[in-house]
């Protein structure tokens, strides 16, 4: 009997588990097309829409030979009739071997994992956690830098509400990073995360300016979107909206190994002329999501690294 897991949060993953998941993702990158999950059914329950994440998970499942069921619009489901999350999860667990779920309510995936007889994969729960995004960010950093250790990671934009940057801090705590937080005052890194950094001996510096000098020592430049709706003071938004935009001419002095990441979708925070710059990595980053999610789906179903490297269902 294979041991089933849930994948609900990044916060409690050990260093070993993170590196293990990266090794798994590397194998899927070598051979993404397999039939290892032939006969399995994966449910993708998107109680709130997220096309990008859903396509990535469904592609991961399809390329492993699984069948996919699910919904993409909660308006067509019983939730809109007032069905509890518990009832929906219990019903779908009769049909599927894994439930991948996206929900606007925080803690929904944790609760689902406590009641569900089949593994739960959190594909985002409100402003709380989005662990598969974090996993693909880690894989992208590892792949471009050859290591997760001792890196200078610059987080830019909305550091207050951006859950991806919060998860990244937690996951990187094992690897002695130096963080630089670059944000307008209104969207600065919340105190609780600065306390978290201090408690875990994570070095960090804060900046409000964003220019070529500030980022010259970066290994990773992690851009996020500054959203208008986050500002209580629209004058403040107008003042800062063009400050946190990465332009091609800001990249002349950066380190050779530096890569630009972005969880996407981007609006205007990375100028389009950056796309052809060799430091741009955000599109490949999204592709890494496929391999990271293949690793996650196999892991929760109890397949281990050995099963993946000895897999005789690989389609070449």
């Amino acid at each position: 009997m294979m041991e089933l897991h849930n994948f609900v949060t990044i916060a409690d993953l050990t260093k070993e588990k993170i590196l293990y998941m990266i090794r798994m993702a590397q194998e899927f990158e070598k051979h993404p097309n397999r039939e290892i999950l032939k006969g399995k059914v994966i449910a993708t329950l998107f109680f709130e829409p997220s096309t990008r994440t859903r396509l990535s998970f469904e592609t991961a499942a399809n390329r492993l030979g699984a069948k996919v069921i699910g919904f993409t619009d909660p308006k067509v489901t019983s939730s809109s009739k007032g069905e509890t999350l518990k009832d929906t999860i219990m019903m779908v667990s009769n049909y599927a071997d894994v439930i991948v779920m996206r929900h606007s309510i925080e803690g929904a995936a944790q609760y689902a994992s406590e009641i569900s007889p089949v593994p739960i994969v959190n594909a985002g729960d409100g402003a709380h956690q989005h662990p598969s995004q974090c996993m693909l960010d880690l894989y992208s950093i590892y792949k471009t830098q050859g290591t997760l250790e001792n890196l200078n990671i610059y987080l830019v934009g909305d550091l207050k509400y951006g859950r991806t940057v919060h998860s990244l801090i937690m996951a990187m705590r094992h690897f002695n990073p130096t963080f630089h937080f670059i944000a307008p005052k209104e969207l600065a890194m919340p105190n609780e995360y600065k306390i978290y950094c201090k408690e875990h001996n994570i070095k960090f510096q804060e900046h409000t300016e964003f220019n070529e000098n500030v980022i010259s020592d970066a290994d990773i430049l992690y851009m996020t979107r500054v959203q208008k709706e986050r500002f209580s003071d629209l004058m403040e938004y107008e003042r800062v909206k063009n400050v946190y935009i990465l332009k091609n001419d800001m990249l002349v002095n950066v380190k050779d190994n530096m890569k630009i990441l972005h969880p996407l979708p981007r609006v205007n925070e990375i100028a389009y002329d950056v796309d052809s710059n060799p430091h741009a990595y955000y599109i490949q980053q999204a592709q890494n999501g496929l391999y990271a999610r293949q690793a996650i789906i196999c892991d929760v179903l109890g397949y281990n690294y050995d099963d993946i490297i000895k897999d005789n269902t690989i389609i070449k």
């Binding site: 509890t84 309510i105 803690g107 929904a108 944790q110 729960d125 409100g126």
Partner: protein
Amino acid sequence: MNKNEMLVAAIQNGTVIDHIPNEKTNQVAELLGLNSLDTPVTIGNNFRSKKLGKKGLIKVEDKFFSDEEISRLAVVAPNIVLNIIKDYEVVEKKTVTTPDEIRGIVKCNNPKCITNNEPMSTLFNVVDKEKGILRCHYCDMEQDINNVELI
């Protein structure tokens, strides 16, 4: 036995809960489930107290509360004292210890938390007993134990 306690009849066996902040007496009674007991219960308020000004007092005959039941009181009245009475004598004084987790008592402050959107129990981990910081097991939102809303 002090003068305040003499104001209500002494009990032979049971528990006398003392030093309850006046306004918390009813919540203490509720958290201990005194309504559903069938032994005699006396609930009093506005007793004079040097420390509190006015205090509440509860006497429950023939009932001894478990440590788990007592720890529930940490969210409303962490400084109360429970006198265990046997044969009219105080044989033990118990104080409230803040538990490691608090289940089903406190409401989560986060309106977008699953516990406020689904018929289910809340669960908090007490992350700092000294400062009284509770963290929601589901959404991770923190709140102050002195400032909670009970379910």
